[in-house]
């Protein structure tokens, strides 16, 4: 009951009825014993009562770093290869070629909850290995053109992977990075002019179709996944899973054993990966001890005295309401007007003004060398001539409050190409660009580029092969999704800003030798939410 009132007021010459005297006391006593709700509490408590972050949310975060071994500008460039476990780095996850969903290594954890809503974000970086300088791999990749021994005369294939989130063994269908009917064909958008083809005896036009459009196509990509998921009380297992499809019409993938030419086998590997879950309780277990006061009640013939009415009842109750305990509040007693935001700070920055190109060189995995030259050596803070893609706090991001920075970014990559005159015809796929999140230290001015956020994109979009050997490069038009969780306790000083950094990795194709790469981008945004932890 939200409001309590005396049932009757005591008047002169009233007979003292113990029931009525008790009714002066019991409603407030009952309220104190775990019935205080939102109507009993003044909204002036907002920001004054202690509100730990654990009251509104909790989280689990796991990130793993894996180096694809691209090399760096100062030594040599390499094609990506399986990541190996070393120090803080873990081995890359080799995706089985059997079409079964499998958990990505180390991308699983458990979370104990009450009735909760989980906000889950996962992110992985995959690379379809097989980039090669082998002469038959005319496009720089052994398998994407089908038969590695005859790449010119085989159809192009996609990487063929799908990712998804899974909770307690339940695959969350709305997170699958693919089409529901993974084998379905789609029609070429053509409308026949004639009802019958001249050389066919059957009526009706012969409409072409396209296969293998239900899985991730690019050779490498950053895949970010997300969902809300309602859970009941218990311990829940949250995972990122992956599966890979073979080319349509093939029983499996070619080149899955050690390739005859000493190149990488036909597997997709997952490198950097991370998984985050925010637990937002909706009906959490009760953690407060019971709050009670013993005031007793009046019976017939009881004496009314300073002790029995004052000290043992009214005074005791007043004392209780001067020191309300956690157990005095009912479930859901505090509403938004009683509570403060768990957000410490937030910022979003966007760029959209113009297309911009850079060809600065990648400094190596998990290396924070930066440059302000678009053709220099190191990471370049993305800029479009007027705007930087960085989230600058009004002064600096505060790290005195224990918190986490949730950083998300998107970058519209227009193309990753050979630099210069070979923009259209330099169609080899082993031109790469890397993108990563980083922050600027307000104390030293130094930039830290977070190795665990590195993602890669290559020049995957080209039309290859017809009978005349026509090859045509097309723009990638790819959106790169980035994600990181940074703990304030891991920062040595407050960041000035969080930003998106880019670099390019040279192509190694055959006789052309090492060829510079240009990354062209256009729009993007970076969002930082600093949440109490």
């Amino acid at each position: 009951m939200p409001y309590i009132f005396p049932k009757r007021r005591l008047n002169d010459r009233d007979v003292l009825d113990p029931v009525e005297l008790n009714e002066d006391i019991l409603p407030a006593m009952e309220l104190y014993a775990g019935e205080i709700n939102e109507h009993n509490i003044s909204e002036t408590v907002r920001g004054v009562i202690t509100q730990p972050a654990s009251a509104t949310h909790s989280y689990v975060y796991k990130e793993k770093m894996s180096d694809p071994g691209f090399g760096d500008f100062s030594s040599a460039w390499n094609h990506p290869s399986p990541g190996t476990a070393s120090g803080s780095y873990v081995a890359s996850h080799k995706v089985s070629n059997d079409m079964n969903w499998e958990v990505i290594d180390l991308m699983t954890f458990t979370k104990a909850t009450g009735v909760s809503k989980l906000w889950i974000v996962g992110q992985v970086t995959y690379i379809w290995l097989g980039f090669s300088t082998f002469s038959s791999a005319s496009t720089g990749h052994l398998f994407s053109e089908g038969d590695p021994s005859d790449p010119f005369n085989a159809p192009a294939h996609p990487a063929g992977v799908q990712f998804a989130l899974r909770v307690n063994g339940h695959l969350i269908e709305s997170t699958i990075t693919g089409k529901r009917e993974s084998w379905a064909k789609v029609t070429v958008p053509a409308r026949a002019k004639d009802q019958r083809s001249s050389r066919r005896k059957y009526p009706g036009p012969d409409m072409p179709d396209v296969t293998e459009t239900g899985t991730m196509g690019p050779h490498c990509a950053s895949v970010r996944l997300g969902t809300f998921y309602d859970v009941l009380p218990g311990t829940h297992t949250i995972e990122i899973v992956v599966r890979r499809f073979p080319p349509l019409g093939q029983r499996g993938h070619l080149g899955t054993v050690t390739y005859a030419y000493g190149q990488q086998s036909n597997f997709v590997h997952v490198f950097n990966r991370k998984l985050f879950t925010l637990d937002v309780p909706s009906h959490p277990p009760n953690s407060s001890p019971d709050a009670t006061i013993s005031v007793g009640t009046f019976d017939s013939e009881d004496t009314i005295s300073r002790e029995s009415l004052g000290a043992e009842k009214i005074d005791r109750m007043a004392a209780a309401f001067r020191s309300v305990q956690t157990g005095s509040l009912s479930r859901g007693a505090l509403n938004h007007f009683h509570l403060t935001s768990p957000v410490v700070a937030k910022k979003q920055s966007t760029i959209s003004a113009s297309v911009y190109s850079i060809s600065n060189k990648y400094p190596g995995y998990n290396t924070s060398t930066v440059t302000t030259n678009t053709s220099g050596n190191g990471w370049y803070l993305l800029y479009n001539g007027t705007e930087y893609l960085n989230a600058v706090a009004p002064t600096v991001w505060d790290i005195t409050t224990e918190s986490i920075f949730l950083v998300m970014a998107n970058v519209q990559v227009k193309s990753v190409r050979a630099t210069g005159s070979a923009q259209k015809s330099g169609h080899v796929h082993d031109h790469f660009a890397a993108l990563a999140l980083g922050y600027n230290n307000s104390s030293t001015g130094a930039v830290t580029v977070l190795g665990q956020t590195e993602v890669y994109v290559n020049h995957y979009n080209s039309l290859e092969k017809d009978s005349s050997g026509f090859v045509r490069s097309l723009e990638e038009e790819y959106d790169v999704a980035l994600f990181a969780v940074v703990k304030s306790s891991d920062l040595s000083a407050a960041p000035n800003y969080f930003g998106v950094y880019g670099a390019t990795i040279n192509g190694l194709k055959g006789s052309a030798g090492v060829t510079d790469t240009t990354l062209t981008y256009h729009r993007g945004n970076i969002t930082v939410i600093q949440l109490k932890a």
Binding site: D12, V48, T56, A192, S305, D466, E475
Partner: protein
Amino acid sequence: MSVILPYSYVNGVPLKPDEHNRNVYTDTPHEGVMSTANGKLHSTNFGSGFEVQSEHIHPEEVIRGRQGAGLETLDYFSDGIGEVGEAAFVNVAGCGVKVYIPYDVTLALWQWTFFFSDFRTLTVEDATDDSPDFASADIIVRASLNGSPLLHTMRSLPQTSTTGLDPDIVGTGGTAEKRSSMSWDMCHMQEGLSAGWHDLNLTLYMEQFLHQISGSLGDAFEVSGSQKRGGFSSRTASYYLFNRASFGVRSARVLTIL
């Protein structure tokens, strides 16, 4: 203020009913054990060790999340929805979310994820590797928040095929659609959101073709199947060619924080 009891009970002195009543309930702030509890419990009424516990917080009064999703594959064709201008943006079914927020919030993080493949033609002059580009009818996706476009989220879908300027001359390869099939996960943070209904939708714009020869808007390219373009068979047949955007599994989410 804490709880004030204006009247003290004294042994041997007659009980004063009005004073006793004030100890129980008055209109004076912070007087009386019942009246204090009636919406006047202030921070000073809480014990020194009091901390808000998660069970104290009414569900969704600090953080709330909503999402919508679509699973069935959708195909949009430029001859079906192709138009020119802002009004031509249409919602992609299943990639939107609408939420009622009953109180002002610090922020809303909107997220949307969609898998797509597209058939989008680039017109080239001839079959050489570095043939000059000509027209390429655009396919654009863009998020719309409460009906207003979010320009930083605008993306073109990739070109995946080429068509010769003169359909009788150029024969080009198949389609790159299968390797340009992919999933994008995008986000936008909205600050200082007011209470009320809010919605976000992924919108799609498919530009009409401008025929390279006739110069007429809306005429599709006319191609001959004998040219083996875009996966056409070698049988002789004539087609009008358009663009297509296909959407696979897709969803949209919003996380709001007080």
